[in-house]
Amino acid sequence: MPTLIKADAGGFVTVEDTFTVLEDDAPDPGGDVIVSLARFLSGDGDLAAGRSGRLGVRLAPEDDVEALEGRLEGVSTVAVEFPKFRDGRGFTAARLLRTRLGFRGEVRAVGDVLRDQAGFMVRCGFDAFIPADGAGPAEWAEAAGRHRHVYQRAADGRAPAFAERQGG
C-alpha cells in the first residue's frame, strides 16, 4: 500500500494511504475512495450513503473549491492536485477550504509535490502529502519548519511578524 506523509502532533509521520483514487467511470469498489469533484457533485448518492469506508474528493486546479461549500459533511479528505509544481492554484484551494469553508478533515497535496514547497503548503492548510521527490517525514519536517517567522496570516494560525512585534 502506498504511503503518505501526515502532519502529526507538530511533526510528520509516514502512514499507510488507505484511499483508492476512483476514475469517473469506475465502479465503486467499497472501502476508502477519492472521486473527482464532478462525480462528487453529480449526486452519486451511493458514494456517501451507507458507506462503511471513507470518502474523499479530488480537486483539479481548474475546479472551483467553493462548489464544496456546505457539502463537506461526511468528506474525510480533499486531495488537491498539483499537475506541475509551478501551478499554484492548489495553494488557494487549500487555504479557502480551511478558512472559508471551515473544512476540518484532511487536505492532501498530490501530484508534483516537492519538499521545497512544504512550508507554503503547511501554511495554506495542507496536512497530508504524497511527495514526488522521495522526501520522507524527516526531510519534510525540516523543509516545513525552516522559517522561524512569517509575514502574513494564512490558514495555519501562525502569528505573523506584525502580531509578534505587537507582542501578540
Binding site: 495553494f91 503548503m121 522561524r148 509575514y151
Partner: protein
C-alpha cells in the same frame, strides 16, 4: 529609512540556509535542472550567456550607505568589480558562480539585503517614486506602503506560484516617476473627500509582447484596506489567470479578456468575502511609518555660496539645471546621479563608484540613496550649500553627467551582450546614440527626450513607453531595430507606435538624429518632443527617417 529588526533578519537567514541546501542538492544531482531552475530564480539567480547572474533586490529602490558598500564588496569579491542597475531598481551582478551564490546571499544578508523574489512567478520588488520623502509635490511618503507590501508579499504562501510574475508600483505624487500604469498593479495615493488617505487602484498594465496601459478598477480604496484588496486581486489572478501560454499569463491578459469592469466585480466580490481579516493592523503601519520620518532636516539652512557658484561656474550651473530637483524643504535639493556617462553602459556602476556614492550619502545626504527605474541613482536630501561639493566629488568619479531626462539618458537592458533571452544588443546602440549627442548644449537644446532600448520583446528596456522606443529584433540572424514613437511611462502613459520597417544596426543612430531634426524643425515654443509629436502625428518623423529609402 526602514531598518530590519530581528524578525526581518531571521527571515533572511532562514531563506539563505534554505537556498544553500538547494544549491547543495543541485550540485549533488539530487535536483534536476528543471526542478532547480524555479528555485534558483526565486533567489534571483539566472543563467545568462557567459555566467550566472544574480539579481539583488533593492526594495522600492532604497539603499543605505552601508548597503551600497556591501554591494561594492560583493562586486569586488564575487564579480568583476561592477554591477548593473536595472529598470526594476534592482542591481545585477553578471559573473557569478553557482557554488558561491549562497556565500553571496550571506554577504547580502549581513547588510539586510537579499535576492528573494527578484525572479520567478511571484510578487516582485515594489517600485516606488525615487523622490519619495523628498518630492515637493507628494501627498505622503509612499515607502511606508512599499515596505508593508514588501513584508506582506515576501514568501507569501498562497501567491508564490502565480501564473506569471507580478509587479506593483506605488506613487504619491501627481508626477508619476514609477510608470505605475504599466505595472500589474499601480497604486496612486489619493486624499479622500473625508481627508483620509487611499489609493486609486490600476490593474493590468504591462509591457512585453502585448503592452497595455492599465485601467483603474477602483478610484478610491481606503489605505487601511489595502492588503485585503491586494489579496483579492491576487486570488482572482491566481485562480483565473491563464497558465496554458506563458505569453498570455500576465494579469493584463486576464483583465483585458474579462474587461476591466467585470474584473473589478470579481475582485470586489472576493474582497467582501475576505473582509478586514486580510488587512495589516494600523499599529504595524504606524511602526513602519515611524521609520520613514526624517528627523534631521534643519528649519531653514543656509544655502552658502550655492547661488554664487552657480552664477560663476557654467558647468556647475548645467549640472544644477539638469540634475538637481526641487525638495519639499527650503534649502535642500534632490541630486540625480546619472549612470549614463557618455559611452558607458547604461546602469553600470563600478565598485569604486558605489563607494563614492555611499560616502556622499553619508556626509551630505542623510544616509539615503535611491535607485530609479531609469537606471540612475538619487541622493534625495542634499543641502543646497553642499551641492557644489557633491558635484565635484561625483565629477571626479565620472558620475556627474548632466543629462537627466535628456537624449543621452538612455534606458537599455543588458541585451545580447549578456542576456540569454535577447535577440539583439542594446548597450552598444545606447552608447552610439549617446556619443552622437554628447555635446551638452545640443542635448539641452533638444530638451526632455526619453530613449528606451530593449534587446527583445520582453521589454526590460521599456521601449514601449520610450518617447523614442527601440526594439532589437532578429532578422535572419542579423541585428535589426524597430523604432516606436510616442510612448510614455509617466502620468500621461501611452504605448508607442511603430514608425516603420526595422533598421539595421548601423542606421539606428542616424534615424534618431533624423527624428530629432524633424522635431527641431516642427516644434513650437516650449513644446517637448512628445508634445510636438502628439500635435503633428508621426508623418514628419516617418518622412525624415525613411525618405531616402523611397
Amino acid at each position: 529609512m526602514y531598518r530590519y529588526d530581528a524578525v526581518d533578519r531571521a527571515v533572511l537567514a532562514d531563506r539563505t540556509a534554505e537556498f544553500r541546501d538547494q544549491v547543495r542538492r543541485r550540485l549533488a544531482g539530487e535536483l534536476t535542472e528543471d526542478q532547480f531552475k524555479p528555485l534558483r530564480l526565486m533567489n534571483g539567480l539566472y543563467l545568462q550567456l557567459h555566467a550566472y547572474m544574480l539579481r539583488v533586490a533593492v526594495p522600492y529602490g532604497s539603499l543605505s550607505p552601508v548597503q551600497m558598500r556591501g554591494l561594492a564588496d560583493i562586486a569586488r569579491r564575487f564579480d568583476r568589480g561592477y554591477g548593473h542597475f536595472t529598470t526594476r531598481t534592482n542591481i545585477q551582478f553578471n559573473w557569478i558562480r553557482l557554488a558561491e551564490a549562497p556565500d553571496i546571499l550571506d554577504a547580502l544578508a549581513a547588510v539586510d539585503l537579499h535576492a528573494i523574489q527578484t525572479s520567478g512567478n511571484c510578487i516582485r520588488n515594489v517600485t516606488a517614486d525615487p523622490y519619495a520623502g523628498a518630492a515637493a509635490d507628494e501627498l505622503e511618503d509612499p515607502r511606508v506602503w512599499c515596505e508593508a507590501i514588501r513584508q506582506w508579499s515576501s514568501l507569501h504562501p498562497e501567491f508564490s506560484f502565480l501564473p506569471r510574475k507580478f509587479k506593483i508600483a506605488v506613487t504619491a505624487s501627481p508626477h508619476d516617476r514609477t510608470a505605475a500604469r504599466v505595472h500589474d498593479i499601480g497604486l496612486l495615493l489619493r486624499r479622500g473627500r473625508d481627508g483620509g488617505t487611499g489609493f486609486e487602484v490600476i490593474v493590468g498594465g504591462g509591457m512585453g509582447r502585448t503592452p497595455h496601459v492599465g485601467p483603474t478598477i477602483r478610484s478610491y480604496l481606503p489605505a487601511e484596506r489595502l492588503f485585503s484588496y491586494l489579496e483579492a486581486i491576487l486570488r482572482v489572478y491566481n485562480r483565473h489567470g491563464r497558465r496554458d501560454n506563458i505569453y498570455k499569463a500576465r494579469i493584463k491578459i486576464l483583465v483585458s479578456a474579462l474587461g476591466a469592469e467585470a474584473f473589478a466585480r470579481e475582485v470586489e466580490a472576493e474582497w467582501e468575502k475576505i473582509g478586514t481579516e486580510g488587512d495589516v493592523p494600523a499599529a504595524e503601519i504606524e511602526r513602519i511609518r515611524a521609520a520613514f520620518t526624517n528627523p534631521d532636516f534643519l528649519a531653514d539652512p543656509s544655502t552658502g555660496d550655492f547661488e554664487a557658484r552657480r552664477a560663476a561656474e557654467p558647468a556647475f550651473a548645467r549640472f544644477v539645471r539638469n540634475n538637481l530637483k526641487a525638495h519639499v524643504r527650503p534649502g535642500y535639493g534632490i541630486v540625480d546621479i546619472s549612470l549614463k556617462g557618455i559611452g558607458e553602459t547604461p546602469g553600470d556602476i563600478s565598485a569604486d563608484q558605489m563607494d563614492v556614492v555611499a560616502d556622499l550619502a553619508e556626509r551630505f545626504g542623510q544616509g539615503d540613496i535611491r535607485a530609479t527605474h531609469e537606471q540612475n541613482l538619487v541622493l534625495p536630501h542634499v543641502r543646497l550649500e553642499h551641492v557644489h561639493e557633491v558635484w565635484k566629488a561625483l565629477d571626479a568619479a565620472g558620475l556627474a553627467t548632466p543629462n537627466i531626462n535628456l537624449i543621452s539618458d538612455i534606458i537599455a537592458c543588458p541585451g545580447l551582450d549578456y542576456c540569454a533571452l535577447a535577440n539583439a544588443r542594446a548597450i552598444c546602440v545606447a552608447q552610439d546614440i549617446a556619443r552622437r549627442f554628447e555635446a551638452p548644449e545640443k542635448a539641452e537644446a533638444i530638451g526632455e527626450l526619453k530613449i528606451k532600448i530593449s534587446g527583445c520583446i520582453n521589454a526590460c528596456g521599456h521601449h514601449h513607453v520610450g518617447h523614442i522606443g527601440i526594439l532589437g529584433v532578429d532578422k535572419k540572424g542579423e541585428e535589426f531595430y524597430q523604432l516606436t514613437l510616442g510612448g510614455s511611462g509617466a502620468e500621461d502613459a501611452a504605448v508607442g507606435k511603430i514608425l516603420g520597417p526595422a533598421l539595421p544596426i548601423d542606421r539606428v543612430t542616424d534615424a534618431v538624429d533624423a527624428i530629432v531634426g524633424a522635431y527641431l524643425r516642427e516644434r513650437r515654443d516650449g513644446e517637448r518632443f512628445l508634445d510636438t509629436l502628439r500635435r503633428t502625428g508621426d508623418a514628419p518623423f516617418k518622412e525624415a527617417v525613411y525618405a531616402d529609402a523611397h
